[in-house]
Symmetry: C2
Subunit: 221 residues, 2 copies
């Protein structure tokens, strides 16, 4: 009997990436919710380097970092591939997953916590440029993975769902239908995907959490 456990946090897009990959593969797993304000002995033991979720445990072997876990899942359960098999296409998927992580998500993160208005304007401009590049990468496809959801779509889950809530709470108008019609159409497809749906945290709960975290008036713009 195979042991597959996932240590996660309901609000974390990184945890949800791993859940999405496991569900796309049809791999059963035990989910263990973590309280990040009061880290469990299990989390500290399983991810001593970063002490963060997600952590995947597979037959006693533990691993961390969502993109690393996604690659492991794809290699271990090769059905319903989430990465292309061709080395060049695989390199492109890794390139875009990394671009999303560093440039898009990284850019949004900086904007979310920036207190200086001028600096924030500069960050928004920089992030817009990255989202413009990402939008171009869809090239008329339904998903970044083509007809099916792949690594890049999974890596972009924050943009697909969480970002809308962040924008709603903060008044940030970065990725809007008039500015990014192609990306917004992708978002619609993403959240409507039957397996993705199962991995999205409840919108009202997410809204309340972001409001509590980002709600300081100085943050609004």
């Amino acid at each position: 009997m195979e042991e597959v456990k996932l240590l996660g946090w309901w609000m974390s897009p990184f945890s949800r990436r791993v859940e999405l990959a496991l569900k796309l593969k049809g791999v059963g797993y035990e989910y263990i919710e973590q309280d990040l304000a009061n880290k469990s002995q299990l989390l500290l033991e399983y991810n001593p380097v970063h002490k963060k979720v997600p952590v995947l445990v597979h037959n006693g072997k533990t691993m961390a970092e969502s993109l690393v876990i996604l690659e492991y899942i794809d290699e271990t359960w090769p059905n319903n591939p989430i990465l292309p098999r061709n080395p060049y296409e695989k390199a492109m998927a890794r390139f875009w997953a990394q671009f999303i992580e560093e440039k898009c998500n990284g850019g949004l993160w900086k904007i979310m916590w920036c207190k200086d208005e001028e600096e924030r304007g500069r960050l928004v401009e920089e992030a817009s440029h990255c989202f413009r590049t990402l939008e171009g990468e869809l090239k008329g496809n339904k998903f970044f993975g083509g007809d099916e959801i792949g690594m890049v779509d999974i890596a972009a889950n924050f943009i697909g769902y969480w970002l809308g809530v962040v924008q709603e709470v903060s008044g940030m108008e970065l990725v809007t239908r008039d500015k990014f019609p192609v990306l917004c159409k992708w978002m619609d497809e993403f959240v409507e995907h039957s397996v993705v749906k199962e991995t999205l945290p409840p919108r009202d709960k997410l809204h309340a959490e972001f409001e509590a975290r980002l709600g300081a008036p100085s943050w609004k713009y």
Copy 2:
């Protein structure tokens, strides 16, 4: 006839990572040095997203980001593997390569350009903690890859060679023999490796470049 070209910059550890991987595989390539102060049309065309080196061109297909390129090289030329074949060990190699990139190199980068003394002290402490973790990962092995150089060693090339020059120029005493004996032994093995040697920029030239870039007295400490 196979076309393999590398757009690089002599001083860049990222370029040198790709050269090292190609040399370890015994893949012949044409090296095209780039002037980053005056970016070539070729570079802008081949890496429009980041406009950075390294760029690998293989039979007309172009790709960027050194760690992505390393994986491509290992998949395309499977002899002398640089990643383990076992999915879990591969995940661990990816985990540590990412740790080096983000935590060790990222930490060093912040220290190198930090102007505030108190903040720099905090950054040095944080980076030391990461180097301590990395040192533990060697576990008595000659290389992170075991007996042979692998992905993690290649990813750590800045630590293996460039860092010594940076420390010399700046007076930074972060990774020293008394504090990190195991890591310093790895550095010795790394720079003595016959293939690695071929990919290291001349020390005096590197020293002069870092002195010009980091030489502001406010930076010394």
